[in-house]
C-alpha cells in the first residue's frame, strides 16, 4: 500500500483541498524538471575536467573547513591566490608550512598574516602538483547548479494515484452515501414535481407508491438474497471498523501512513547520517542527539550544535539546502557575511515526531547505553531513506512488549548483570528460574521483568 505518499496531515482535509495540493506538487515537479533540462546549458565546464575534479576533491578534504574558492571565510578566498602571490613569494612553501615561511621574513607573507588576524594556517602535507590542482580548481570554480529538490521528485513519481484506493475507501463510501441521499431526495422531488404538473393539468396524483415501497416490495420477494447480502455487509463493515479502531492514534508501522509533520527546517537525516559510500556525511546519530546515551530523552540538538559544522558550511548541496542553513543562522543569530554572532537568537520550534502518551515512561539511555540497540531498530532507515524525519514504528504497547519478549539482555561485561546472575545461581529458587529462562538459550528482557507494568507505567 502506498498511502504514505500523502503526508498524513492531508488525510484529514476535505477532498478538494487534497487534490489541489497534489496538483501543486505536480506543477512544481514539472517546473523543476524543466529547470534541470536547461541547467546543463547555463554553465560551461572547465577546460581540464580531470584536474578540476582532483582539485575539488583535495580542496574539500584539506582546505574546505577554512577556505572557500570564491569567498573569504576563516581564511581568504582562494580564487586568484596564485596571481596575488605572483612575484611576491613562494606560495608552495607558504601552503606547506606557513609558520616556517613567515620566519623567512617575506613581506607579503607577513602582510597576509597581519590581515587575517595573525592566525596561522595548519601545515599541509601536499605536493606542488596537488597544490596546483587545488589552485586550478579554485581559479576555475563554478558553483554547482541547484538540483531539483528530492521532495519534488517524490511527488512527481507516477502511479501514485491508482494505488491510493485502499486509503480512499472511506471517502468513496462517503461519496456513495451522499450520492444515494441526493438520489433519493431527487427522486422525491421529481415525483412531487410530477404530481404538481399532473395536478396543474387537472389529472389525479400518481398511485402512492414511493421508491421506498418499491424497494421494500422487491426485498420482500428476495428475502434470502437480501439477508445474505445484508449479513455480508454488516460483517464487512464491522470488521473494517474493528481494524480501523486498532490504529486510531497510531502513526507508524505497517498499517497506517507514517506521521511526518512539516518541520520549520527541512533537516535531511539521510544526508547527514547516511553512508559515505552513498555520498552522505555519516555523522554519528549521537553527535547531535547526545541525550540518547545518558537521558530519557535523546533530545533535539540545540542550534549551537549545528553551528559546529555550519559555521563553515554555509551552502547546501542545493540552493534549497542553503535556504535551510540560513534558517539555522537566523536561529542562532549568525551573521554569515561578517562572520560573527549578532546576539539575536530565536529558538527553532520543531514539531515533535515521536509522541508517547503521558502514562508511558520510555528511557533512551536504557535502550541505547545498556540495551545497546541501534537507533534504526526503532526509528527505521532514517539514515537511508528519510529526508525529513518520520515516525517509523507504531510505538504501540504491543510493539514494545513484542521486542521485550524476543530481545536478549546484553549482560556480558556488565557488573550489574553479573550480580543478577550470581543471585540466580545462589538459591534453588533462582536455579529453577534460571533454567526456565534459558529454555530458549537466552535471557530475554521479559524474563528479567521487562513485561511488568511498573517498568514503564508510574
Amino acid at each position: 500500500m502506498n498511502g504514505r505518499l500523502f503526508p498524513p496531515k492531508m488525510l484529514g482535509m476535505p477532498l478538494v483541498a487534497r487534490i489541489s495540493e497534489r496538483s501543486t506538487g505536480l506543477l512544481y515537479a514539472t517546473l523543476a524538471a524543466v529547470l534541470f533540462l536547461f541547467s546543463g546549458i547555463a554553465h560551461a565546464q572547465p577546460e581540464d575536467a580531470d584536474l578540476y575534479a582532483t582539485g575539488e576533491k583535495l580542496f574539500k578534504g584539506n582546505c574546505g573547513a577554512c577556505h572557500k574558492p570564491d569567498k573569504d571565510l576563516t581564511g581568504p578566498a582562494m580564487k586568484g591566490a596564485r596571481e596575488r602571490w605572483d612575484g611576491k613569494g613562494d606560495i608552495y612553501a607558504w601552503v606547506k608550512n606557513s609558520s616556517a615561511y613567515l620566519k623567512t621574513g617575506n613581506p607579503y607573507a607577513n602582510e597576509v598574516f597581519a590581515k587575517w588576524n595573525k592566525s596561522l594556517m595548519t601545515a599541509q602535507a601536499l605536493s606542488n602538483e596537488e597544490i596546483d590542482a587545488i589552485l586550478y580548481y579554485a581559479d576555475n570554480y563554478a558553483p554547482k547548479t541547484p538540483a531539483p529538490s528530492p521532495g519534488g521528485e517524490t511527488a512527481a513519481t507516477p502511479g501514485a494515484g491508482d494505488s491510493d484506493m485502499g486509503s480512499n475507501w472511506p471517502w468513496l463510501a462517503v461519496i456513495a452515501l451522499l450520492l444515494l441521499v441526493v438520489g433519493i431526495s431527487l427522486s422525491g422531488v421529481r415525483s412531487s414535481m410530477d404530481n404538481a404538473v399532473r395536478e396543474a393539468e387537472g389529472k389525479g396524483p400518481l398511485p402512492d407508491r414511493t421508491t421506498g415501497q418499491k424497494i421494500r416490495e422487491w426485498a420482500w420477494e428476495n428475502k434470502t438474497f437480501v439477508s445474505i447480502i445484508g449479513l455480508f455487509f454488516t460483517v464487512f463493515i464491522t470488521v473494517k471498523l474493528w481494524d480501523a479502531a486498532w490504529v486510531i492514534g497510531v502513526y507508524g508501522g505497517d498499517e497506517v501512513a507514517h506521521y511526518k509533520p512539516e518541520q520549520p527546517i527541512l533537516f535531511n537525516h539521510t544526508l547527514h547520517a547516511g553512508k559515505v559510500e552513498a555520498g552522505n556525511l555519516a555523522i554519528n546519530c549521537q553527535y547531535c542527539h547526545s541525550g540518547a546515551e545518558k537521558s530519557r530523552h535523546a533530545g533535539i540538538p540545540s542550534s549551537n550544535v549545528c553551528m559546529n559544522c555550519h559555521q563553515a558550511v554555509s551552502e547546501g548541496r542545493t540552493s534549497a539546502g542553503t535556504v535551510e542553513i540560513a534558517k539555522i543562522y537566523a536561529a542562532v543569530g549568525w551573521d554569515a557575511e561578517n562572520f560573527k554572532y549578532t546576539g539575536k537568537t530565536e529558538p527553532v520550534k520543531w514539531v515533535k515526531v515521536h509522541n508517547l502518551p503521558d502514562h508511558a515512561y520510555f528511557n533512551h539511555a536504557q535502550h541505547v547505553a545498556v540495551g545497546k540497540l541501534e537507533c534504526q531498530e526503532c526509528h527505521g532507515p532514517i539514515d537511508q531513506q528519510m529526508d525529513v524525519a518520520e515516525q517509523w514504528a507504531p510505538l504501540t504497547m504491543g510493539w514494545c512488549i513484542d521486542c521485550h519478549n524476543t530481545k536478549d539482555v546484553k549482560m556480558a561485561g556488565n557488573g550489574y548483570y553479573d550480580e543478577v546472575m550470581a543471585r540466580l545461581e545462589e538459591t534453588d529458587l533462582g536455579h529453577a528460574e534460571l533454567k526456565k529462562y534459558l529454555e530458549d538459550e537466552k535471557i530475554s528482557v521479559k524474563e528479567l521483568g521487562g513485561w511488568e507494568c511498573a517498568k514503564c507505567h508510574y
Binding site: Y259, S295, G449, H457
Partner: protein, 1068 residues
C-alpha cells in the same frame, strides 16, 4: 510485655461511640459522589429529554472518535545554546541553604530542565546532617518550601500605595522615590527591621546604606521570641545568645515545655541528635517531659508528666531545689512529681540537659543554674560555639513601636518579618506605621504588614536568591539561586545597595565580602576562587582553625531574683490556663499559604486545614461539648476570652492535655483583612465564604518582663452553641484493632535478650506433634510465616527485592516524609471538605496511637483486680503514651489487592513491588476494600481541575511547574498508592547498569527515606546480603504489621522500646 496494652486512635473508638464509628469498617464510608456532581447548580433548570440525551451521547462518541484520529501537533523547542551541565531529562542537584528566620538547614535542591521540584537535606554538609546515616535532617516546612516558589499570588513587581490602595509600579520609580524618602528622613531614625539575619553580607549591606544615611539602624525580631533564653544567658554568662545544644551527649533529657523535636530551638539539629540516642541498647537516653499540652516531644518522652501552665515554673524551681539541695519554695506536690527526673539528672552529671520552653527570663536563669550545677556546659550545652540565630530583641521592638508613635522614626524598612500580624501589640504597631513618612516592605506578598506600607519592593523567593549565613561561630552556609527570578523581583539586600548608590549585584557583593573577610582572617586570598567555588558547590564552608572548643563557663546569675520572677507566674482566677504553641506544619505562620502544609495532618490531633482549641477530654465532658468528632460529628465552637481579647474556635479533645488548660496554635488566620498572602492561606469554607484558614491567635500573646509571653494564665471558655466541621484524618484511615499493628516494650525487657518476650511471632496450632511431647494439643504451634494460601512469588533471593524497614523508635512523628512524598509523587491536594470525607490522597500516613501506661503486668504489680485493671487500661487520656507509625503500601508478596482486581491493574513485580497501572484501572475499588492496611486512595474527582483550583497547586500553569515529570498525574476514577518510588528505583538501576556495577546499598532512596533525618525509614534491597535494610529486617525487633493474616509484606517495623524506669527496676 509488648501486646497487653490497649491502643486506640481517638476517643470515639476508645469509648465505642456508635454514632462516630459508624461506617468506619467501610473503606469508603460514603457512597459514590453522585450527589456532589448532580448538586452542581448549573444542572438546575436543564431540560434534556431522553432522546436529546441519546443524541448528545451519539454525537459525543462520534466526535471523540474523530478527534482521536487527528495527530496533535506538539512543539518541541530546544535551547539555542545549551548550557553544558544541563541534559534535558536528567536532574541536577544544587546545594543551598533554607532559612526563614526560624529553621536553618543545608539542603539539596533537585531541578529538572531548570525547574526546582524537590528538596532534601544535604547528606554531606551542614549542621542538620546526621553523620551516622548520612542524611540531612529537615522538617515538612523545609521540603514543602519548593511549592511556595510557584505561588501565583507572589508579587510580580514593586507596588506603591496610591489613593486607591496598592498599585503596580516600576523599579526605577521605586528607587527614585525611596531614595528621596531616605534623604528626607535625615536626622530621624531610619530603621531596618528584619528577622535574625545571621548573615555577614546582609549586615554589610546595611552598613553600606549607613554610610550614605548615618541614622540607619538595624533591629532584629524573631516571630517567635526567645528573649527569655537570650536575656537569661546575658544575665548568667554575659552573652546575649542562644546556646548550641548537643543532645548526642545527653543521657538524660529533661524538657519543661520545650518542644525541641518540633519547634523549640534549632530543631533541624536536635531531632537527629535526639534520635541518635534513641537506639535501644545501653546508650539509650531517658527523656522526661513536663508540659500542659501534648507536644511532639511529649509524645516521644519516656516519662511525660502533664502539668498546668502555671505549674511549669514550679517544676524548674523544684528541679533547682532537688539539685542544689536548698529550698526554693516550690510546691510540695511539684517537688514530688519532679523527684524521679532530678534523680536521673543527678546520676548523669555532665551527660544531661535541662531545657525549658518558657520565655521568662527568671525561669531561664534558673535553668542555666541547674545546667551549670550539673556540669552540662561544655558537654551538652555550648556557649562558645553558640548559635547566631534567635538574636531578636523584644525590648528594641517595643521601643521602636513607641518611637514610631512619637514620630521620631523617619523611615522603616521591613524584611522577613510580619509585625502587623504577629506582634502582641500589632494594633499599636499599625497605628505607628501610619505615622512613619517612608515605609518599605520587602515581602514577597502584599501581606498584613506590607499592604500597609508606602512601598513594597518584593524580595526574591529564597530559591532565586544568593545569601550567606553563619548559624554558628565558624560555620558558614551559602544559598545559591536554582532558577532565574520568575517575576520582576529584587533581592532586598540588593535594593539596599542600590539605595546606597551602588549598582553591585548582590552576588558580587557577597563574594567580595567573603574575600575581604577571609583576607582579614589571614585566609589564602590567592586561592579564593577555588575556596569560593567549593563553598558554593557544598553549600557549606567550615574553615580550619575556626572551631571553638566548648569549655565550662561560670554561672554568674542572680538565683534569688530569678526565683522571684519565676514565682510571679500564679494560677489565674479564670477556669482555664492557655498555652499558645506553633504546629509542626504551619510554624509561626509564614508558610500558611502552602497547601501541602495545610493538608499535612497535625502529628497529634490529625487535623488538617484549621487551628482549634485543644482541651482535655475531662473538661470537654464537664462542659458538655462534643467529645467524639468525625465526618458527621462536628466540633463545638467556643469563645476563649483573655482579658479584653477573644478568639472563637472549634474545640477538640486532645488526650494528654492537662485538665484545666487549653492550647491554641499560632500561625493561622493569615490574610484576615483580605490581604493576598498566598494561595492556600484563605479558602472557601463549608458555608461558601472565602475565609482565612483558622484564626489568628497572636493577639492573645502578651508581654512580661520585657519578653513576649506565650502563656496566658487567666482565660475563660464559653460555648457558643454552634458547631464547626473539622477535617480529621485518623478517624477514617483506620486499622483493625489488633495487637500486631503496634508492638512496644521497655528497655529492660529488650536488653533481657529474649525475643519472644517482646516480639512474639504469631503462631497457629497444627495437627501434628511439633513440640515432641507425644501428644497433639494446643501447645503444638507453628509460626504463621510457615503457612501459605498462595503460590510463592519468585522474589526470595532472585534479582532485587525492594523493602522498607521502619524503626518505631527512630520515628518522632515529624511528618517530613509525608510532604516529601507529596512532592516526589505529584500527590493531589484535595482541600478540607474532601479530607473530611476521607478522600485525602496521601500515599503515606503517620498513624498515631494512644495507649494507657497500664498493662496487665503493671496492674498485677499494683495489685489491681481484673475489673479494675481493664477499667484503668481504658481511662488513660490524662496522660496516654503515644506511638507514631508511618504507614504506606506494605508491598505484600501475597497481596490481597492483586487477587481481586478484575482487570489486573495491580500486579506483583519480580522485584517485590506491588505495581499499580493507572491507565488500566477502571475504578472498581475492590482492591482498596480488600487491603488490610487501608493504604489505597481513590481519585473521586479530577483533582487537577478548576473545582479544586483554590487548593491544588497543579491547577495553574505556574503551580504545575513543581510536578515531577517522571511521575504520571492521575486522573479521576483510578486508584493510586505508594509505588515505593519506583521511578527512583528504575533510575538507580539504570545508573548502576550504565556504570556496570551492582546497585550499591544506599544509592537508591525513596522520598520518605531520604527525608527521614532520624533514620527511622530505611530503604534497600532485601536480596542484597550486605544491605542495611536486610540487617534490620532480620533483627530481633523486626515484625510485620498484621503478621497473622499472612500477606508477607516487604515493609517491616521495628518494635518500639521505651526507656521507662518502673519496668527497668522490675527486671533488674
Amino acid at each position: 510485655m509488648s501486646s497487653t496494652k490497649r491502643y486506640w486512635k481517638d476517643l470515639g473508638e476508645l469509648h465505642q461511640q456508635p454514632a462516630v464509628i459508624k461506617g468506619r469498617e467501610n473503606e469508603f464510608p460514603q457512597d459514590l459522589a453522585i450527589d456532589q456532581v448532580l448538586g452542581d447548580a448549573s444542572f438546575n433548570g436543564a431540560s434534556t429529554g431522553r432522546r436529546d440525551f441519546l443524541k448528545f451521547l451519539g454525537f459525543g462518541l462520534g466526535a471523540a472518535t474523530l478527534a482521536a484520529c487527528e495527530t496533535p501537533v506538539i512543539k518541541s523547542i530546544p535551547y539555542v545554546n545549551k548550557p553544558e551541565d544541563i541534559t534535558p531529562g536528567v536532574a541536577n542537584w544544587y546545594a543551598s541553604t533554607f532559612y526563614d528566620g526560624e529553621d536553618l538547614a543545608s539542603i539539596l535542591v533537585k531541578t529538572r530542565e531548570g525547574r526546582p521540584i524537590h528538596i532534601k537535606g544535604n547528606p554531606r554538609f551542614g549542621l542538620n546532617r546526621n553523620p551516622a546515616l548520612p542524611k540531612g535532617s529537615i522538617n515538612a516546612r523545609i521540603n514543602s518550601s519548593v511549592l511556595s516558589l510557584y505561588d501565583n499570588e507572589r508579587l510580580k513587581e514593586p507596588m506603591m500605595k496610591g489613593t486607591e490602595g496598592m498599585a503596580a509600579a516600576k523599579w526605577s520609580d521605586a528607587d527614585i522615590a525611596i531614595g528621596k524618602g531616605l534623604a528626607a528622613a535625615a536626622g530621624k531614625r531610619i530603621v531596618i527591621l528584619t528577622n535574625t539575619l545571621a548573615s555577614s553580607s546582609s549586615v554589610a549591606a546595611i552598613e553600606q546604606l549607613r554610610t550614605k544615611h548615618p541614622t540607619v539602624e538595624h533591629v532584629q525580631m524573631d516571630t517567635i521570641s526567645y528573649n527569655g533564653v537570650t536575656n537569661a544567658n546575658l544575665k548568667s554568662f554575659g552573652k546575649r545568645v542562644f546556646p548550641s545544644y548537643d543532645l548526642t551527649k545527653a543521657d538524660v533529657v529533661v524538657s519543661v515545655d520545650a518542644d525541641f523535636l518540633s519547634n523549640w530551638g534549632n530543631t533541624t539539629e536536635s531531632t537527629w541528635q535526639y534520635a541518635s540516642r534513641r537506639q535501644p541498647g545501653k546508650g539509650m537516653n531517658r527523656h522526661f517531659q513536663f508540659e500542659a499540652r501534648m507536644s511532639l516531644s511529649g509524645a516521644n518522652a519516656d516519662v511525660r508528666v502533664p502539668m498546668k501552665v502555671s505549674e511549669l515554673p514550679q517544676v524548674i524551681l523544684a528541679l533547682h531545689a532537688h539539685i542544689s539541695g536548698s529550698d526554693s519554695g516550690a510546691d510540695a506536690a511539684v517537688m514530688k512529681a519532679t523527684e524521679h527526673a532530678a534523680k536521673a539528672l543527678m546520676a548523669a552529671k555532665g551527660r544531661s540537659v535541662v531545657l525549658a520552653g518558657s520565655n521568662n527570663e527568671g525561669v531561664q536563669v534558673l535553668v542555666n543554674s541547674i545546667n551549670s550545677m550539673l556540669g552540662n556546659y561544655g558537654s551538652t550545652i555550648d556557649l562558645e560555639g553558640h548559635s547566631y540565630l534567635r538574636q531578636g530583641d523584644d525590648a528594641a521592638i517595643a521601643q521602636l513601636v513607641k518611637e514610631m508613635d512619637a514620630g521620631t522614626v523617619g523611615a522603616l524598612l521591613i524584611a522577613g518579618v510580619n509585625p502587623a500580624y504577629s506582634l502582641p501589640n500589632a494594633e499599636q504597631f499599625k497605628a505607628g506605621l501610619a505615622k512613619v513618612p517612608l515605609t518599605v516592605s520587602f515581602s514577597g506578598y502584599a501581606d498584613e504588614t506590607a499592604s500597609l506600607c508606602n512601598w513594597i519592593c518584593p524580595d526574591h523567593h529564597y530559591l532565586e536568591s544568593w545569601n550567606d549565613f553563619m548559624p554558628k561561630a565558624g560555620h558558614y552556609t551559602l544559598a545559591q539561586p536554582v532558577i532565574s527570578p520568575l517575576f520582576s523581583t529584587r533581592q532586598w539586600q540588593e535594593s539596599l545597595l542600590r539605595w546606597s548608590g551602588s549598582y553591585t549585584a548582590y552576588y558580587s557583593f557577597i563574594r567580595e565580602n567573603w574575600q575581604r573577610n577571609m583576607a582579614a582572617h589571614g585566609g589564602l586570598t590567592e586561592m579564593f576562587a577555588d575556596t569560593w567555588n567549593q563553598a558554593v558547590h557544598d553549600g557549606v564552608y567550615e574553615p580550619a582553625g575556626m572551631s571553638f572548643p566548648a569549655s565550662g563557663v561560670t554561672f554568674a546569675g542572680d538565683v534569688n531574683a530569678a526565683m522571684g520572677m519565676a514565682k510571679a507566674a500564679k494560677a489565674g482566677e479564670g477556669e482555664f490556663e492557655l498555652a499558645l504553641y506553633t504546629t509542626e506544619a504551619i510554624g509561626s505562620g509564614q508558610h500558611a499559604n502552602n497547601p501541602w502544609l495545610q493538608e499535612m495532618p497535625d502529628p497529634l490531633t490529625k487535623i488538617t486545614w484549621d487551628n482549634y482549641v485543644c482541651m482535655a477530654p475531662a473538661d470537654i465532658e464537664r462542659m458538655g461539648l462534643n467529645m467524639y468528632l468525625g465526618e458527621q460529628a462536628p466540633a463545638s465552637v467556643v469563645t476563649v476570652k483573655a482579658g479584653d481579647r477573644e478568639i472563637t474556635l472549634p474545640v477538640v479533645p486532645t488526650p494528654g492535655q492537662r485538665v484545666g488548660t487549653i492550647a491554641i496554635a499560632l500561625g493561622y488566620g493569615r490574610g484576615a483583612n483580605g490581604e493576598k498572602v498566598g494561595k492556600a492561606a484563605c479558602v472557601t469554607d463549608h458555608n461558601g465564604v472565602f475565609n482565612p484558614v483558622g484564626q489568628n491567635a497572636y493577639p492573645l500573646t502578651g508581654t512580661a518582663d520585657g519578653a513576649v509571653n506565650y502563656d496566658v494564665l487567666n482565660v475563660s471558655v464559653t460555648a457558643t452553641g454552634e458547631t464547626y466541621p473539622v477535617a480529621i484524618t485518623q478517624t477514617h484511615l483506620t486499622d483493625m484493632d489488633r495487637h500486631s499493628v503496634v508492638k512496644e516494650t521497655n528497655l529492660a525487657t529488650f536488653l533481657g535478650g529474649d525475643k519472644r518476650a517482646y516480639n512474639h511471632p504469631h503462631e497457629l496450632a497444627v495437627h501434628e506433634d511439633v513440640n515432641g511431647d507425644g501428644v497433639i494439643n494446643a501447645l503444638d504451634k507453628k509460626p504463621v510465616a510457615e503457612f501459605d494460601l498462595w503460590e510463592e512469588h519468585p522474589v526470595e533471593g532472585v534479582g532485587h527485592r525492594w523493602g522498607l524497614s521502619i524503626d518505631l523508635n527512630g520515628c518522632i512523628g515529624c511528618g517530613a516524609c509525608i510532604t516529601a512524598c507529596n512532592s516526589e509523587n505529584n500527590i493531589s491536594v484535595v482541600g478540607k471538605d474532601e479530607v473530611r470525607r476521607s478522600r485525602e490522597m496521601h500515599w503515606l500516613r503517620l498513624d498515631r496511637y494512644y495507649s494507657s501506661a497500664t498493662t496487665k503486668e503493671s496492674a498485677k504489680q499494683d495489685g489491681l483486680g481484673k475489673i479494675d485493671m481493664y477499667l484503668k487500661m481504658e481511662v488513660p487520656e490524662e496522660s496516654p503514651t503515644v506511638v507514631f507509625m508511618p504507614v504506606m503500601c506494605q508491598h505484600c508478596n501475597h497481596a490481597p489487592c492483586e487477587t481481586v482486581c478484575p482487570v489486573a491493574a495491580t500486579t506483583h513485580s519480580n522485584e517485590g513491588l506491588n505495581q499499580m497501572a493507572y491507565n488500566r484501572c477502571i475504578g472498581t475499588r475492590y482492591c482498596a476494600n480488600n487491603c488490610p492496611y487501608k493504604v489505597r486512595r481513590f481519585n473521586w474527582f479530577n483533582y487537577v481541575s478548576e473545582q479544586f483550583s483554590e487548593v491544588n497547586p497543579a491547577w495553574d500553569d505556574l503551580g504545575r511547574m513543581v510536578l515531577n515529570p517522571d511521575v504520571t498525574v492521575r486522573a479521576r476514577g483510578v486508584i493510586e498508592k505508594c509505588s515505593m518510588c519506583v521511578q527512583q528505583i528504575q533510575a538507580g538501576k539504570l545508573e548502576a547498569k550504565q556504570a556496570g556495577t551492582p546497585v550499591q546499598d544506599g544509592a537508591i532512596e525513596t522520598a520518605c527515606s531520604a527525608a527521614c533525618g532520624t533514620g527511622a525509614i530505611v530503604f534497600g534491597d532485601l536480596n542484597d546480603k550486605k544491605s542495611k535494610v536486610l540487617g534490620l529486617a532480620t533483627s530481633d525487633r523486626s515484625y510485620h504489621m498484621l503478621e497473622e493474616i499472612g500477606v508477607k509484606p516487604n515493609v517491616n517495623y521495628l518494635v518500639k522500646v521505651r526507656n521507662t524506669e518502673e519496668a527497668a527496676a522490675h527486671h533488674a
